[in-house]
Protein backbone atom coordinates (compact mmCIF):
# COMPACT_ATOMS: atom_id res chain seq x y z
CA UNK A 1 0.00 0.00 0.00
CA UNK A 2 1.33 3.33 -1.07
CA UNK A 3 1.82 6.20 1.38
CA UNK A 4 -0.87 8.36 -0.25
CA UNK A 5 -3.60 6.80 -2.34
CA UNK A 6 -6.00 8.90 -4.36
CA UNK A 7 -8.67 6.56 -5.72
CA UNK A 8 -11.10 7.69 -8.41
CA UNK A 9 -11.72 11.06 -6.73
CA UNK A 10 -14.60 13.12 -8.07
CA UNK A 11 -15.47 16.70 -7.23
CA UNK A 12 -18.20 18.99 -8.57
CA UNK A 13 -19.19 22.56 -7.92
CA UNK A 14 -22.88 22.67 -8.74
CA UNK A 15 -23.13 21.15 -12.20
CA UNK A 16 -19.48 21.70 -13.08
CA UNK A 17 -17.45 18.55 -12.63
CA UNK A 18 -13.92 19.66 -11.75
CA UNK A 19 -12.41 16.25 -11.01
CA UNK A 20 -13.72 13.33 -13.03
CA UNK A 21 -12.22 10.34 -11.28
CA UNK A 22 -8.56 11.01 -10.55
CA UNK A 23 -6.28 8.27 -9.21
CA UNK A 24 -2.68 8.75 -8.10
CA UNK A 25 -0.58 6.75 -5.71
CA UNK A 26 2.38 8.35 -4.00
CA UNK A 27 5.14 6.44 -2.26
CA UNK A 28 7.12 7.91 0.61
CA UNK A 29 9.88 10.33 -0.48
CA UNK A 30 8.28 10.76 -3.87
CA UNK A 31 7.78 14.15 -5.50
CA UNK A 32 4.75 14.23 -7.77
CA UNK A 33 4.26 17.20 -10.08
CA UNK A 34 0.81 18.01 -11.41
CA UNK A 35 0.94 19.98 -14.65
CA UNK A 36 -1.78 21.16 -16.96
CA UNK A 37 -3.69 24.24 -18.03
CA UNK A 38 -5.38 26.56 -15.54
CA UNK A 39 -8.75 25.09 -14.59
CA UNK A 40 -7.66 21.53 -15.22
CA UNK A 41 -8.24 20.64 -11.55
CA UNK A 42 -4.71 20.69 -10.10
CA UNK A 43 -5.50 23.01 -7.19
CA UNK A 44 -8.81 21.33 -6.45
CA UNK A 45 -7.07 17.96 -6.22
CA UNK A 46 -4.54 19.33 -3.71
CA UNK A 47 -7.31 20.93 -1.66
CA UNK A 48 -9.13 17.60 -1.58
CA UNK A 49 -6.11 15.87 -0.08
CA UNK A 50 -6.15 18.04 3.05
CA UNK A 51 -9.95 18.22 3.07
CA UNK A 52 -10.25 21.94 2.33
CA UNK A 53 -12.65 20.59 -0.26
CA UNK A 54 -14.93 17.63 0.33
CA UNK A 55 -14.81 14.98 -2.36
CA UNK A 56 -18.06 13.88 -4.00
CA UNK A 57 -16.83 10.44 -4.94
CA UNK A 58 -13.88 8.08 -4.55
CA UNK A 59 -11.59 8.20 -1.56
CA UNK A 60 -8.20 9.36 -0.37
CA UNK A 61 -6.08 7.24 1.96
CA UNK A 62 -2.95 8.16 3.86
CA UNK A 63 -1.02 5.11 5.04
CA UNK A 64 -4.06 2.98 4.46
CA UNK A 65 -6.42 5.11 6.54
CA UNK A 66 -9.17 6.89 4.68
CA UNK A 67 -9.22 10.67 5.18
CA UNK A 68 -12.33 11.42 3.16
CA UNK A 69 -15.94 11.20 4.24
CA UNK A 70 -17.70 11.72 7.54
CA UNK A 71 -16.16 11.10 10.95
CA UNK A 72 -12.57 11.86 10.01
CA UNK A 73 -10.74 14.15 12.45
CA UNK A 74 -9.69 16.70 9.88
CA UNK A 75 -7.76 18.80 12.38
CA UNK A 76 -5.63 15.76 13.18
CA UNK A 77 -5.21 14.97 9.48
CA UNK A 78 -4.10 18.50 8.65
CA UNK A 79 -1.29 18.39 11.16
CA UNK A 80 0.31 15.75 8.96
CA UNK A 81 -0.46 17.41 5.65
CA UNK A 82 1.15 20.80 5.06
CA UNK A 83 -0.04 23.10 2.30
CA UNK A 84 1.47 26.21 0.74
CA UNK A 85 -0.74 28.46 -1.36
CA UNK A 86 -0.11 30.54 -4.45
CA UNK A 87 -1.10 33.71 -2.57
CA UNK A 88 1.01 32.90 0.58
CA UNK A 89 -1.96 33.60 2.94
CA UNK A 90 0.22 34.66 5.84
CA UNK A 91 -1.62 36.16 8.81
CA UNK A 92 -1.10 39.92 8.36
CA UNK A 93 -1.70 40.79 12.03
CA UNK A 94 1.15 38.60 13.30
CA UNK A 95 4.90 38.89 12.94
CA UNK A 96 6.74 36.29 10.88
CA UNK A 97 7.77 34.45 14.03
CA UNK A 98 4.21 34.39 15.41
CA UNK A 99 2.90 33.15 12.07
CA UNK A 100 5.21 30.17 12.34
CA UNK A 101 4.71 29.52 16.05
CA UNK A 102 0.90 29.71 15.98
CA UNK A 103 0.07 26.14 14.95
CA UNK A 104 2.82 24.35 16.90
CA UNK A 105 1.88 26.10 20.16
CA UNK A 106 -1.88 26.15 19.68
CA UNK A 107 -2.45 22.79 17.99
CA UNK A 108 0.53 20.57 18.73
CA UNK A 109 1.02 21.82 22.30
CA UNK A 110 4.70 22.65 21.84
CA UNK A 111 6.15 24.90 24.53
CA UNK A 112 6.54 28.54 23.56
CA UNK A 113 10.33 28.52 23.93
CA UNK A 114 10.78 25.33 21.94
CA UNK A 115 8.50 26.56 19.18
CA UNK A 116 10.43 29.79 18.99
CA UNK A 117 13.79 28.00 18.71
CA UNK A 118 12.47 25.67 16.06
CA UNK A 119 10.96 28.57 14.10
CA UNK A 120 14.25 30.45 14.23
CA UNK A 121 16.18 27.41 13.03
CA UNK A 122 13.79 26.96 10.13
CA UNK A 123 13.88 30.69 9.28
CA UNK A 124 17.66 30.54 9.29
CA UNK A 125 17.63 27.63 6.88
CA UNK A 126 15.67 29.72 4.36
CA UNK A 127 17.71 32.86 4.98
CA UNK A 128 14.89 34.73 6.69
CA UNK A 129 16.10 34.83 10.31
CA UNK A 130 16.62 38.59 10.36
CA UNK A 131 12.98 39.10 9.31
CA UNK A 132 11.57 37.16 12.29
CA UNK A 133 9.97 40.24 13.83
CA UNK A 134 8.81 41.79 10.54
CA UNK A 135 5.16 41.80 9.48
CA UNK A 136 4.12 40.04 6.26
CA UNK A 137 3.01 43.28 4.55
CA UNK A 138 6.58 44.55 4.74
CA UNK A 139 8.06 41.52 2.96
CA UNK A 140 8.46 40.85 -0.75
CA UNK A 141 6.42 38.10 -2.34
CA UNK A 142 9.38 35.74 -2.38
CA UNK A 143 10.09 36.37 1.29
CA UNK A 144 6.44 35.84 2.19
CA UNK A 145 6.37 32.57 0.32
CA UNK A 146 9.51 31.37 2.09
CA UNK A 147 7.85 32.17 5.42
CA UNK A 148 4.70 30.35 4.30
CA UNK A 149 6.77 27.25 3.52
CA UNK A 150 8.44 27.44 6.93
CA UNK A 151 5.05 27.90 8.59
CA UNK A 152 3.87 24.64 7.05
CA UNK A 153 7.14 22.85 7.85
CA UNK A 154 6.97 23.88 11.51
CA UNK A 155 4.19 21.32 12.01
CA UNK A 156 6.55 18.61 10.72
CA UNK A 157 4.11 17.39 8.09
CA UNK A 158 4.69 14.01 6.52
CA UNK A 159 3.50 15.27 3.16
CA UNK A 160 3.54 18.74 1.66
CA UNK A 161 1.10 20.08 -0.90
CA UNK A 162 2.42 23.03 -2.92
CA UNK A 163 -0.20 24.85 -4.94
CA UNK A 164 1.52 26.87 -7.70
CA UNK A 165 3.66 28.51 -5.08
CA UNK A 166 5.74 30.56 -7.53
CA UNK A 167 2.91 31.67 -9.83
CA UNK A 168 2.45 35.04 -8.13
CA UNK A 169 6.16 35.87 -7.80
CA UNK A 170 8.38 38.22 -9.77
CA UNK A 171 10.60 36.11 -12.05
CA UNK A 172 13.79 36.93 -10.16
CA UNK A 173 12.28 35.79 -6.84
CA UNK A 174 11.17 32.40 -8.15
CA UNK A 175 14.65 30.90 -7.86
CA UNK A 176 14.96 31.36 -4.08
CA UNK A 177 11.65 29.65 -3.45
CA UNK A 178 12.33 26.78 -5.81
CA UNK A 179 15.74 26.26 -4.19
CA UNK A 180 13.98 25.55 -0.90
CA UNK A 181 11.65 23.04 -2.53
CA UNK A 182 14.64 21.42 -4.22
CA UNK A 183 16.31 20.97 -0.83
CA UNK A 184 13.15 19.54 0.68
CA UNK A 185 12.94 17.06 -2.18
CA UNK A 186 16.55 16.18 -1.61
CA UNK A 187 15.87 15.61 2.09
CA UNK A 188 13.20 13.12 1.07
CA UNK A 189 10.04 15.01 2.02
CA UNK A 190 7.03 13.58 0.22
CA UNK A 191 5.50 16.30 -1.92
CA UNK A 192 2.60 16.77 -4.26
CA UNK A 193 2.91 19.98 -6.23
CA UNK A 194 0.90 21.79 -8.84
CA UNK A 195 3.21 23.91 -10.97
CA UNK A 196 3.70 25.82 -14.20
CA UNK A 197 7.50 25.67 -13.82
CA UNK A 198 8.12 22.83 -16.28
CA UNK A 199 11.91 23.00 -16.04
CA UNK A 200 11.67 22.60 -12.30
CA UNK A 201 9.15 19.76 -12.56
CA UNK A 202 11.47 17.98 -14.95
CA UNK A 203 14.30 18.31 -12.46
CA UNK A 204 12.72 17.36 -9.13
CA UNK A 205 9.74 15.15 -9.99
CA UNK A 206 9.81 11.42 -9.59
CA UNK A 207 6.52 11.33 -11.43
CA UNK A 208 4.64 13.86 -13.54
CA UNK A 209 0.86 13.84 -14.05
CA UNK A 210 -0.71 15.82 -16.86
CA UNK A 211 -4.23 16.87 -15.94
CA UNK A 212 -6.75 17.86 -18.57
CA UNK A 213 -10.32 18.87 -17.73
CA UNK A 214 -10.42 17.01 -14.45
CA UNK A 215 -8.78 13.77 -15.54
CA UNK A 216 -5.23 12.52 -15.63
CA UNK A 217 -4.49 12.22 -19.31
CA UNK A 218 -0.97 10.95 -18.95
CA UNK A 219 1.45 10.14 -16.17
CA UNK A 220 4.93 8.82 -15.91
CA UNK A 221 8.52 9.71 -15.09
CA UNK A 222 9.47 13.25 -16.17
CA UNK A 223 11.75 12.10 -19.02
CA UNK A 224 8.84 10.28 -20.61
CA UNK A 225 6.28 13.06 -20.21
CA UNK A 226 8.54 15.88 -21.33
CA UNK A 227 10.66 14.12 -23.98
CA UNK A 228 8.22 11.64 -25.38
CA UNK A 229 4.61 12.44 -24.54
CA UNK A 230 2.15 9.91 -25.92
CA UNK A 231 -1.08 11.87 -25.94
CA UNK A 232 -1.72 14.50 -28.59
CA UNK A 233 -3.09 16.97 -26.04
CA UNK A 234 0.03 16.60 -23.88
CA UNK A 235 2.24 17.29 -26.90
CA UNK A 236 0.16 20.33 -27.78
CA UNK A 237 0.29 21.67 -24.20
CA UNK A 238 4.05 21.20 -23.96
CA UNK A 239 4.76 22.72 -27.35
CA UNK A 240 2.79 25.82 -26.34
CA UNK A 241 4.74 26.00 -23.10
CA UNK A 242 7.96 25.82 -25.12
CA UNK A 243 6.72 28.60 -27.43
CA UNK A 244 6.03 30.88 -24.47
CA UNK A 245 9.60 30.34 -23.31
CA UNK A 246 8.73 28.45 -20.12
CA UNK A 247 10.60 25.23 -20.86
Amino acid sequence: MAFLEINDVRKSYGHTEVLKGVSISVERHEVICLIGASGSGKSTLLRCVNQLEEVNGGEILIEGDTVTGAGVDINRLRRDVGIVFQSYNLFPHMSVLKNIMLAPTMVAGVKDKEAREKAMTLLESVGMAEKADAYPDNLSGGQQQRVAIVRALAMEPRIMLLDEITAALDPELVGDVLEIVRELAHDGLTMLLATHEMGFAKEVATQVCFLEQGSILEKGPPEQIFENPQEERTQQFLSRVVKSGRL
Binding site: F85, N89, V107, D137
Partner: protein, 364 residues
Protein backbone atom coordinates in the same frame (compact mmCIF):
# COMPACT_ATOMS: atom_id res chain seq x y z
CA UNK B 1 -4.67 39.91 -39.53
CA UNK B 2 -1.70 42.12 -40.10
CA UNK B 3 -1.28 45.14 -37.91
CA UNK B 4 0.53 47.10 -40.60
CA UNK B 5 -2.65 48.59 -41.97
CA UNK B 6 -3.15 50.37 -38.63
CA UNK B 7 0.28 51.96 -38.60
CA UNK B 8 0.29 54.45 -41.47
CA UNK B 9 1.46 58.03 -41.51
CA UNK B 10 -1.46 59.27 -43.61
CA UNK B 11 -4.06 58.13 -41.03
CA UNK B 12 -1.96 59.05 -38.01
CA UNK B 13 -1.21 62.72 -38.56
CA UNK B 14 0.02 64.70 -35.60
CA UNK B 15 -2.71 66.94 -34.15
CA UNK B 16 -2.53 70.75 -34.15
CA UNK B 17 -0.76 72.06 -31.03
CA UNK B 18 -3.46 72.92 -28.48
CA UNK B 19 -4.24 76.61 -28.04
CA UNK B 20 -4.09 78.28 -24.60
CA UNK B 21 -7.44 78.30 -22.78
CA UNK B 22 -9.42 81.56 -22.58
CA UNK B 23 -9.20 83.52 -19.32
CA UNK B 24 -10.94 86.90 -19.63
CA UNK B 25 -14.51 85.53 -19.65
CA UNK B 26 -14.19 83.46 -16.46
CA UNK B 27 -12.33 86.30 -14.78
CA UNK B 28 -15.32 88.52 -15.59
CA UNK B 29 -17.66 85.99 -13.97
CA UNK B 30 -15.42 85.89 -10.90
CA UNK B 31 -15.55 89.67 -10.65
CA UNK B 32 -19.35 89.67 -10.83
CA UNK B 33 -19.65 86.97 -8.14
CA UNK B 34 -17.24 88.86 -5.89
CA UNK B 35 -19.07 92.17 -6.29
CA UNK B 36 -22.49 90.65 -5.58
CA UNK B 37 -21.07 88.94 -2.49
CA UNK B 38 -19.57 92.20 -1.22
CA UNK B 39 -22.84 94.06 -1.79
CA UNK B 40 -24.83 91.40 0.08
CA UNK B 41 -22.32 91.39 2.92
CA UNK B 42 -22.57 95.16 3.18
CA UNK B 43 -26.34 94.89 3.56
CA UNK B 44 -26.12 92.03 6.10
CA UNK B 45 -23.56 93.89 8.18
CA UNK B 46 -25.82 96.93 8.22
CA UNK B 47 -28.68 94.72 9.52
CA UNK B 48 -26.35 93.26 12.14
CA UNK B 49 -25.45 96.71 13.43
CA UNK B 50 -29.08 97.83 13.43
CA UNK B 51 -30.14 94.73 15.38
CA UNK B 52 -27.47 95.38 18.00
CA UNK B 53 -28.28 99.12 18.10
CA UNK B 54 -24.88 99.97 16.63
CA UNK B 55 -22.79 98.84 19.61
CA UNK B 56 -19.00 98.51 19.36
CA UNK B 57 -18.90 94.73 19.23
CA UNK B 58 -21.24 94.52 16.25
CA UNK B 59 -19.30 97.32 14.51
CA UNK B 60 -16.02 95.42 14.93
CA UNK B 61 -17.54 92.14 13.75
CA UNK B 62 -19.12 93.96 10.81
CA UNK B 63 -15.83 95.57 9.75
CA UNK B 64 -14.00 92.25 9.97
CA UNK B 65 -16.67 90.53 7.87
CA UNK B 66 -16.55 93.30 5.28
CA UNK B 67 -12.76 93.25 5.03
CA UNK B 68 -12.82 89.47 4.67
CA UNK B 69 -15.36 89.73 1.89
CA UNK B 70 -12.94 91.91 -0.08
CA UNK B 71 -10.39 89.03 -0.08
CA UNK B 72 -11.64 87.19 -3.19
CA UNK B 73 -10.98 90.32 -5.29
CA UNK B 74 -7.24 89.68 -5.13
CA UNK B 75 -7.13 86.28 -6.92
CA UNK B 76 -9.68 87.63 -9.38
CA UNK B 77 -7.35 90.55 -10.12
CA UNK B 78 -4.49 88.04 -10.58
CA UNK B 79 -6.72 86.23 -13.05
CA UNK B 80 -7.09 89.41 -15.11
CA UNK B 81 -3.30 89.90 -15.02
CA UNK B 82 -2.94 86.31 -16.30
CA UNK B 83 -5.34 87.08 -19.13
CA UNK B 84 -3.19 90.04 -20.16
CA UNK B 85 -0.02 87.98 -19.99
CA UNK B 86 -1.59 85.23 -22.07
CA UNK B 87 -2.56 87.73 -24.81
CA UNK B 88 0.94 89.24 -24.87
CA UNK B 89 2.73 85.85 -25.04
CA UNK B 90 0.34 84.63 -27.72
CA UNK B 91 1.19 87.78 -29.71
CA UNK B 92 4.90 86.86 -29.36
CA UNK B 93 4.08 83.36 -30.68
CA UNK B 94 5.24 81.81 -27.40
CA UNK B 95 2.58 79.11 -27.37
CA UNK B 96 3.81 76.99 -24.45
CA UNK B 97 4.41 79.98 -22.17
CA UNK B 98 0.99 81.38 -23.13
CA UNK B 99 -0.67 78.07 -22.22
CA UNK B 100 1.02 78.11 -18.83
CA UNK B 101 0.04 81.72 -18.16
CA UNK B 102 -3.54 80.92 -19.15
CA UNK B 103 -3.64 77.88 -16.87
CA UNK B 104 -2.34 79.91 -13.92
CA UNK B 105 -4.80 82.71 -14.69
CA UNK B 106 -7.74 80.30 -14.73
CA UNK B 107 -6.60 78.72 -11.48
CA UNK B 108 -6.53 82.19 -9.83
CA UNK B 109 -9.94 82.99 -11.27
CA UNK B 110 -11.39 79.75 -9.93
CA UNK B 111 -10.10 80.66 -6.48
CA UNK B 112 -11.74 84.07 -6.85
CA UNK B 113 -15.07 82.42 -7.69
CA UNK B 114 -14.81 79.81 -4.91
CA UNK B 115 -14.03 82.29 -2.16
CA UNK B 116 -16.57 84.76 -3.54
CA UNK B 117 -19.26 82.07 -3.38
CA UNK B 118 -18.28 81.33 0.23
CA UNK B 119 -18.67 85.03 1.12
CA UNK B 120 -22.05 84.97 -0.59
CA UNK B 121 -23.20 82.04 1.55
CA UNK B 122 -21.96 83.57 4.81
CA UNK B 123 -23.64 86.88 3.97
CA UNK B 124 -26.82 85.04 3.01
CA UNK B 125 -26.95 83.09 6.28
CA UNK B 126 -26.37 86.29 8.23
CA UNK B 127 -29.18 87.93 6.30
CA UNK B 128 -31.49 84.99 7.02
CA UNK B 129 -30.74 85.20 10.75
CA UNK B 130 -31.33 88.94 10.94
CA UNK B 131 -34.13 89.40 8.47
CA UNK B 132 -37.57 90.33 9.76
CA UNK B 133 -35.82 92.50 12.35
CA UNK B 134 -33.98 89.55 13.88
CA UNK B 135 -36.92 87.14 14.14
CA UNK B 136 -34.74 84.07 13.50
CA UNK B 137 -32.22 84.98 16.13
CA UNK B 138 -35.00 85.75 18.58
CA UNK B 139 -36.64 82.40 17.96
CA UNK B 140 -33.63 80.09 18.18
CA UNK B 141 -30.76 81.90 19.80
CA UNK B 142 -31.97 83.89 22.81
CA UNK B 143 -29.14 84.11 25.26
CA UNK B 144 -31.31 84.87 28.30
CA UNK B 145 -33.35 81.71 27.59
CA UNK B 146 -30.12 79.70 27.44
CA UNK B 147 -28.98 81.15 30.76
CA UNK B 148 -32.23 80.22 32.47
CA UNK B 149 -32.41 76.64 31.18
CA UNK B 150 -28.68 75.76 31.11
CA UNK B 151 -28.32 74.23 34.57
CA UNK B 152 -31.32 71.95 34.34
CA UNK B 153 -30.50 70.91 30.81
CA UNK B 154 -26.91 69.98 31.48
CA UNK B 155 -28.03 67.86 34.42
CA UNK B 156 -30.63 66.18 32.25
CA UNK B 157 -28.01 65.62 29.57
CA UNK B 158 -26.12 63.36 31.96
CA UNK B 159 -29.05 60.96 31.69
CA UNK B 160 -28.57 60.90 27.92
CA UNK B 161 -24.86 60.16 28.32
CA UNK B 162 -25.51 57.51 30.95
CA UNK B 163 -28.23 55.81 28.89
CA UNK B 164 -26.01 55.88 25.79
CA UNK B 165 -23.00 54.33 27.53
CA UNK B 166 -24.95 51.66 29.45
CA UNK B 167 -27.04 50.78 26.39
CA UNK B 168 -24.01 50.46 24.17
CA UNK B 169 -22.24 48.12 26.56
CA UNK B 170 -25.34 45.91 26.59
CA UNK B 171 -25.65 46.27 22.81
CA UNK B 172 -22.07 45.04 22.29
CA UNK B 173 -22.85 41.91 24.32
CA UNK B 174 -26.34 41.16 23.00
CA UNK B 175 -25.30 41.99 19.41
CA UNK B 176 -22.45 39.49 19.70
CA UNK B 177 -24.85 36.77 20.85
CA UNK B 178 -27.11 37.53 17.87
CA UNK B 179 -24.17 37.53 15.46
CA UNK B 180 -22.94 34.17 16.75
CA UNK B 181 -26.46 32.75 16.40
CA UNK B 182 -26.62 33.99 12.83
CA UNK B 183 -23.33 32.30 11.97
CA UNK B 184 -24.07 28.87 13.44
CA UNK B 185 -23.29 26.25 10.79
CA UNK B 186 -25.21 23.38 9.31
CA UNK B 187 -28.70 21.99 9.78
CA UNK B 188 -28.38 21.99 13.54
CA UNK B 189 -27.90 25.75 13.56
CA UNK B 190 -30.77 26.47 11.16
CA UNK B 191 -33.53 27.23 13.69
CA UNK B 192 -31.36 29.53 15.80
CA UNK B 193 -30.07 31.22 12.64
CA UNK B 194 -33.65 31.84 11.59
CA UNK B 195 -34.62 33.31 14.96
CA UNK B 196 -31.64 35.67 14.99
CA UNK B 197 -32.27 36.72 11.39
CA UNK B 198 -35.93 37.45 12.06
CA UNK B 199 -34.99 39.41 15.19
CA UNK B 200 -32.50 41.59 13.28
CA UNK B 201 -34.93 42.19 10.42
CA UNK B 202 -37.82 43.07 12.73
CA UNK B 203 -35.94 45.45 15.00
CA UNK B 204 -34.26 47.19 12.10
CA UNK B 205 -37.66 47.62 10.48
CA UNK B 206 -39.39 49.18 13.51
CA UNK B 207 -38.65 52.92 13.91
CA UNK B 208 -36.71 53.37 17.14
CA UNK B 209 -39.30 55.81 18.48
CA UNK B 210 -41.99 53.13 18.19
CA UNK B 211 -39.87 50.64 20.14
CA UNK B 212 -39.27 53.28 22.81
CA UNK B 213 -43.00 53.97 23.16
CA UNK B 214 -43.93 50.29 23.26
CA UNK B 215 -41.25 49.39 25.79
CA UNK B 216 -41.55 52.42 28.06
CA UNK B 217 -45.33 52.27 28.34
CA UNK B 218 -45.95 48.58 27.66
CA UNK B 219 -43.32 46.80 29.73
CA UNK B 220 -44.44 48.19 33.13
CA UNK B 221 -48.00 47.05 32.34
CA UNK B 222 -47.05 43.62 31.04
CA UNK B 223 -44.30 42.92 33.57
CA UNK B 224 -45.44 44.64 36.75
CA UNK B 225 -42.17 44.00 38.62
CA UNK B 226 -40.55 46.60 36.35
CA UNK B 227 -42.76 49.32 37.80
CA UNK B 228 -40.23 49.82 40.57
CA UNK B 229 -37.40 50.35 38.04
CA UNK B 230 -35.96 53.73 37.36
CA UNK B 231 -37.74 54.65 34.15
CA UNK B 232 -34.40 55.34 32.43
CA UNK B 233 -33.74 51.58 32.46
CA UNK B 234 -36.75 51.11 30.21
CA UNK B 235 -35.10 53.54 27.80
CA UNK B 236 -31.92 51.49 28.01
CA UNK B 237 -33.92 48.36 27.29
CA UNK B 238 -35.64 49.88 24.24
CA UNK B 239 -32.42 51.24 22.72
CA UNK B 240 -30.57 47.99 23.43
CA UNK B 241 -33.25 45.97 21.64
CA UNK B 242 -33.03 48.26 18.61
CA UNK B 243 -29.30 48.78 18.32
CA UNK B 244 -28.33 45.15 18.97
CA UNK B 245 -29.89 44.33 15.62
CA UNK B 246 -27.62 46.84 13.88
CA UNK B 247 -24.50 45.87 15.80
CA UNK B 248 -25.05 42.17 15.10
CA UNK B 249 -24.81 43.09 11.41
CA UNK B 250 -21.57 45.00 12.00
CA UNK B 251 -20.00 41.97 13.70
CA UNK B 252 -21.16 39.65 10.96
CA UNK B 253 -20.00 41.92 8.14
CA UNK B 254 -16.65 42.45 9.86
CA UNK B 255 -15.94 38.73 10.07
CA UNK B 256 -17.24 38.15 6.54
CA UNK B 257 -14.87 40.82 5.23
CA UNK B 258 -11.81 38.73 6.13
CA UNK B 259 -10.79 36.85 2.99
CA UNK B 260 -11.65 33.11 3.04
CA UNK B 261 -8.01 32.33 2.23
CA UNK B 262 -7.17 33.30 5.83
CA UNK B 263 -9.55 30.64 7.11
CA UNK B 264 -8.15 28.16 4.60
CA UNK B 265 -4.59 28.84 5.76
CA UNK B 266 -5.50 28.58 9.42
CA UNK B 267 -7.59 25.41 9.10
CA UNK B 268 -4.87 23.81 6.94
CA UNK B 269 -2.45 24.20 9.83
CA UNK B 270 -4.80 22.10 11.94
CA UNK B 271 -6.51 24.89 13.89
CA UNK B 272 -10.16 24.18 14.69
CA UNK B 273 -12.84 26.65 13.64
CA UNK B 274 -13.01 28.09 17.17
CA UNK B 275 -9.21 28.49 17.27
CA UNK B 276 -9.30 30.11 13.83
CA UNK B 277 -11.91 32.58 15.01
CA UNK B 278 -9.93 33.46 18.10
CA UNK B 279 -6.43 33.69 16.65
CA UNK B 280 -6.98 34.70 13.04
CA UNK B 281 -10.41 36.10 12.21
CA UNK B 282 -11.47 38.15 15.25
CA UNK B 283 -8.17 40.04 15.69
CA UNK B 284 -8.29 41.11 12.04
CA UNK B 285 -12.02 41.84 12.00
CA UNK B 286 -12.00 44.00 15.14
CA UNK B 287 -9.98 46.72 13.41
CA UNK B 288 -12.50 46.88 10.60
CA UNK B 289 -15.45 46.84 13.01
CA UNK B 290 -14.37 49.83 15.07
CA UNK B 291 -15.46 52.61 12.66
CA UNK B 292 -18.97 51.20 12.00
CA UNK B 293 -19.39 50.44 15.72
CA UNK B 294 -18.44 54.03 16.52
CA UNK B 295 -20.98 55.24 13.98
CA UNK B 296 -23.69 53.16 15.64
CA UNK B 297 -22.61 54.51 19.02
CA UNK B 298 -22.98 58.08 17.73
CA UNK B 299 -26.45 57.31 16.38
CA UNK B 300 -27.36 55.74 19.70
CA UNK B 301 -26.29 58.86 21.59
CA UNK B 302 -28.54 60.99 19.42
CA UNK B 303 -31.44 58.56 19.70
CA UNK B 304 -31.40 58.92 23.49
CA UNK B 305 -33.43 62.08 22.75
CA UNK B 306 -36.24 59.74 21.71
CA UNK B 307 -36.70 58.86 25.36
CA UNK B 308 -38.39 62.27 25.78
CA UNK B 309 -41.56 60.73 24.33
CA UNK B 310 -41.61 58.34 27.28
CA UNK B 311 -41.45 61.06 29.93
CA UNK B 312 -37.90 60.16 30.86
CA UNK B 313 -36.32 63.37 32.19
CA UNK B 314 -33.52 63.55 29.64
CA UNK B 315 -32.32 66.70 27.95
CA UNK B 316 -35.00 67.09 25.29
CA UNK B 317 -37.76 66.51 27.81
CA UNK B 318 -36.34 69.29 29.99
CA UNK B 319 -35.75 71.53 26.98
CA UNK B 320 -39.37 71.15 25.92
CA UNK B 321 -40.49 72.07 29.43
CA UNK B 322 -38.48 75.30 29.20
CA UNK B 323 -39.71 75.91 25.70
CA UNK B 324 -43.32 75.90 26.83
CA UNK B 325 -42.48 77.95 29.88
CA UNK B 326 -40.64 80.69 27.95
CA UNK B 327 -42.57 80.37 24.67
CA UNK B 328 -39.21 80.20 22.97
CA UNK B 329 -37.23 77.49 21.12
CA UNK B 330 -33.80 78.58 22.33
CA UNK B 331 -33.70 75.91 25.10
CA UNK B 332 -34.20 73.24 22.41
CA UNK B 333 -31.38 74.76 20.36
CA UNK B 334 -29.27 74.47 23.50
CA UNK B 335 -30.06 70.73 23.70
CA UNK B 336 -29.00 70.46 20.06
CA UNK B 337 -25.73 72.21 20.93
CA UNK B 338 -24.99 69.63 23.63
CA UNK B 339 -25.39 66.82 21.09
CA UNK B 340 -23.21 68.68 18.59
CA UNK B 341 -20.45 69.17 21.13
CA UNK B 342 -20.22 65.50 22.11
CA UNK B 343 -20.80 63.86 18.72
CA UNK B 344 -18.68 65.95 16.34
CA UNK B 345 -15.31 64.96 17.89
CA UNK B 346 -16.37 61.32 17.69
CA UNK B 347 -17.42 61.68 14.05
CA UNK B 348 -14.03 63.27 13.26
CA UNK B 349 -12.32 60.39 15.06
CA UNK B 350 -14.19 57.83 12.96
CA UNK B 351 -13.16 59.68 9.78
CA UNK B 352 -9.58 59.63 11.02
CA UNK B 353 -9.72 55.86 11.59
CA UNK B 354 -11.26 55.24 8.17
CA UNK B 355 -8.69 57.44 6.41
CA UNK B 356 -5.87 55.75 8.30
CA UNK B 357 -7.04 52.30 7.23
CA UNK B 358 -7.57 53.48 3.65
CA UNK B 359 -4.05 54.94 3.56
CA UNK B 360 -2.70 51.68 4.96
CA UNK B 361 -4.44 49.62 2.31
CA UNK B 362 -3.29 51.98 -0.46
CA UNK B 363 0.26 51.85 0.90
CA UNK B 364 0.23 48.06 1.26
Amino acid sequence: MSTHSLVRDDVQQAPEPSAPAKVTGVAGIALIVDLIAIALMLYSVKLLRDYNHGNTASTIVGVILLLASLGPLWPTFQGFLGAGKRAKLLGDKQLVAARRAAARGREDTAIGIGYGAAVLIVAGVLLLLLTNSGAVADTFLRIDAWRQSFNEEIHAFWINVWVAVVSFILVLIFGLILAIMRMLPGRAGAPLRLIATVYCDVFRAIPAIVTVLLVAFGVPLAFTFTQTWNVAWLGVLALTLTYSAYVAEVYRAGLASIHPSQTAASRSLGLSYAQTLRAVLVPQAVRRMVPPLMNDFISLQKDTALLSVAAIPEVLQVAQYWESKLFNLAPVTLAALFFIIITIPQARFVDYLINRDAAKRAGG
